[in-house]
Amino acid sequence: MKTVADRRTKIETGTGAELWLHMYRQMTAIRLFEEQVNELYTRALMPGLAHLYVGEEAVAVGVCEALTPEDYITSTHRGHGHCLAKGAAPDRMFAELLGKEAGYCKGKGGSMHIADPTTGNLGANAIVAGSTGIATGAAFSAKQLGTKQVAVCFFGEGALGQGVLYEVMNLAQLWKLPVIYVCENNFYNEYTHYLETTAGDIQARAAAFGMPAESVDGQDVRAVHAIATRLVERARRGEGPAFLVCNTYRMRGHHVGDINREYYRSKKEEQEWGDRDPIKRLGDWLIKEKHAGAETLHDMESEIRREMEAAVKFAVAAAYPGPEEVDQDVYA
């Protein structure tokens, strides 16, 4: 398997375009995955709801590309992007979203609980800040067992309201654990602007524990990746945890059914953030720097679209778990 380190060597020797094209591909895959999810919901093919990651792709991709396959992540209810960026296969993701046996969790988890040990994914979590302990515990194991793994804890700015986050950040800094707390500030705690829920300064909260607390433009995958790489390598060297705020925007609603959003945010605001689309931004840069032509990017998008359509087809055709599965796996 090609490693992140391989790619970074290439950047340093002047052939880094491969990495940025890879990231463009990953971000586009997440975007097109989510469009299919929305379509499945609209066509009433998907049970329940899903929380789309559209607009935030640069965070998951920029961070996960700084990790090795063995490194850990924990994710959130808005987790499809993290799971894909860490290496999940779209067909098994869709199968899970549809509650099928072929899904990552045999259909028992669904959209909000994708977990996959083979890609270091400790699980998406539907309790806000619910995975902060798990991520910190994975970092604790890594340190205790000397594995050199790093754990990344993704959470939205809504998790800043939960006390357990601060409890585990305190533990992580006391014990110099290799964990990166990645706060995706997408502006909205569900339907409430974060300024109505968050006193003071976000970074200052983490800085108070004595850990590096940084902020980055979450629509710029190159910036996210650069800073994530630095923090991850620092953690891997045993220098402890870090906190990274990625300022981004949830371009869609809280969930697929949240269509009429005027009561909590303006169309103008959505339009402004739409102009800062992270995928378009990287694409424009790739073209400007002559790393890729528009046609290459367009062809890549078409190819991914076909892959996603095939993955959906697989999931729709896949079988539901048999009724005998219902009480299996309660205990190990």
């Binding site: 990552y104 969790c105 798990i134 994975a138």
Partner: protein, 335 residues
């Protein structure tokens, strides 16, 4: 109870020593076992249950945490998923409220939600039981809460022998196990084999054989039931005492078979009766032994009040042997 025959193979140790021995043996056996909690290292906990462990295993494995029950319990869940076997110490059972999301929404569900891919082999040790004059926030018996949740196992040892054997099994279990220790029992002595042994979870123990009435008693209430049985013997009533030892997995068969044999049953548990462990165990007996019962199944639990501080008030909230004796006599038509 298994035969613990000779002085050569057993010795008398306290409940606290039994717990400590179980931890020490499992920590020697498996380097992945670590202890996390408040004042667990040099202090050995306020109850001194863990005294000496840090000297043998060091502060890398017997780890003092901040006063952050949710934080270190959550950390233990993640550590258990990724290769360690943490034993977290929650000083008082009342503080499990602070860990509820970590245990109920995380630890209990990880295995099922991931389709069986991630496991959480962790133990939470905590306490139950009133009568220490510690008032309403340090005296509760809240084991029913965890017993209610699929994915968790709940252990309630009532003797030093059971405590050691069950804790060793709990640490080796691949699931989250909550281990409740009665605070009043730490100094209680009992025979414990010198040889290594384990006790499986989900196997009830007949603490006393009898023919006229079955007492199903847990944890702190086992000794109460045994004392009541002695009193009853004097008036010619033979009581059998069954200790389920684990509320989940639950050895329904042993409970039901005993009730079928004696035709009467009283369930005694220090948790609140309302929607509690006594309710569940009574229902199991009623469903399983209905046609053999000569009387309704009776329940005795903690009085439905916050545990009061004042000694005479506190004592009134917990079932005692006189209450069990009176209830049994009445149930046997001897009032």
């Amino acid at each position: 109870m298994p035969e613990i025959a000779t002085k050569e193979t057993t010795r008398e140790i306290t409940f606290a020593e039994a717990v400590r021995e179980a931890l020490a043996e499992e920590m020697r056996r498996d380097s992945r076992v670590v202890i996390l909690g408040e004042d667990v290292a040099e202090a050995g906990t306020p109850f001194k249950v863990l005294s000496g462990l840090v000297e043998e295993f060091g502060t890398q494995r017997v780890i003092d945490t901040p006063i952050s029950e949710a934080g270190f319990t959550g950390l233990a869940v993640g550590a258990a998923m990724t290769g360690l076997r943490p034993v977290v110490d929650i000083m008082f059972g009342d503080f499990i409220t602070l860990t509820m999301d970590q245990m109920v929404n995380q630890a209990a569900k990880v295995h099922y939600m991931s389709g069986g891919k991630w496991k959480v082999p962790m133990v939470m040790r905590t306490t139950l039981g009133a009568a220490r004059r510690s008032a309403a926030q340090h005296s509760q018996s809240l084991h029913a809460w965890f017993s209610h949740v699929p994915g968790l196992k709940v252990v309630l040892p009532s003797t030093p022998y059971d405590a050691k054997g069950l804790l060793k099994t709990a640490i080796r279990d691949e699931n989250p196990v909550i281990f409740f220790e009665d605070k009043m029992m730490f100094k209680m002595k009992g025979p414990v084999p010198l040889e290594e042994y384990t006790i499986p979870l989900g196997v009830a123990d007949v603490k006393r054989v009898g023919t006229d009435i079955t007492f199903v008693a847990t944890s702190s209430m086992v000794q109460v039931a045994l004392a009541a049985a002695v009193m009853l013997e004097e008036i010619g009533i033979s009581a059998e005492v069954i200790d389920p030892r684990t509320t989940w997995p639950l050895d329904e068969k042993t409970l039901v078979e005993s009730a079928k044999k004696t035709s009467r049953a009283i369930v005694i548990d220090e948790g609140y009766g309302r929607y509690g462990v006594t309710a569940e165990l009574a229902a199991v007996i009623a469903e399983g032994a209905f046609f053999n019962l000569d009387a309704p199944v009776k329940r005795l639990g903690a009085m439905h009040v916050p545990i009061p501080f004042s000694p005479p008030l506190e004592d009134a909230t917990v079932p005692n042997e006189q209450m069990v004796f009176d209830a049994a006599r009445k149930l046997c038509g001897r009032s």
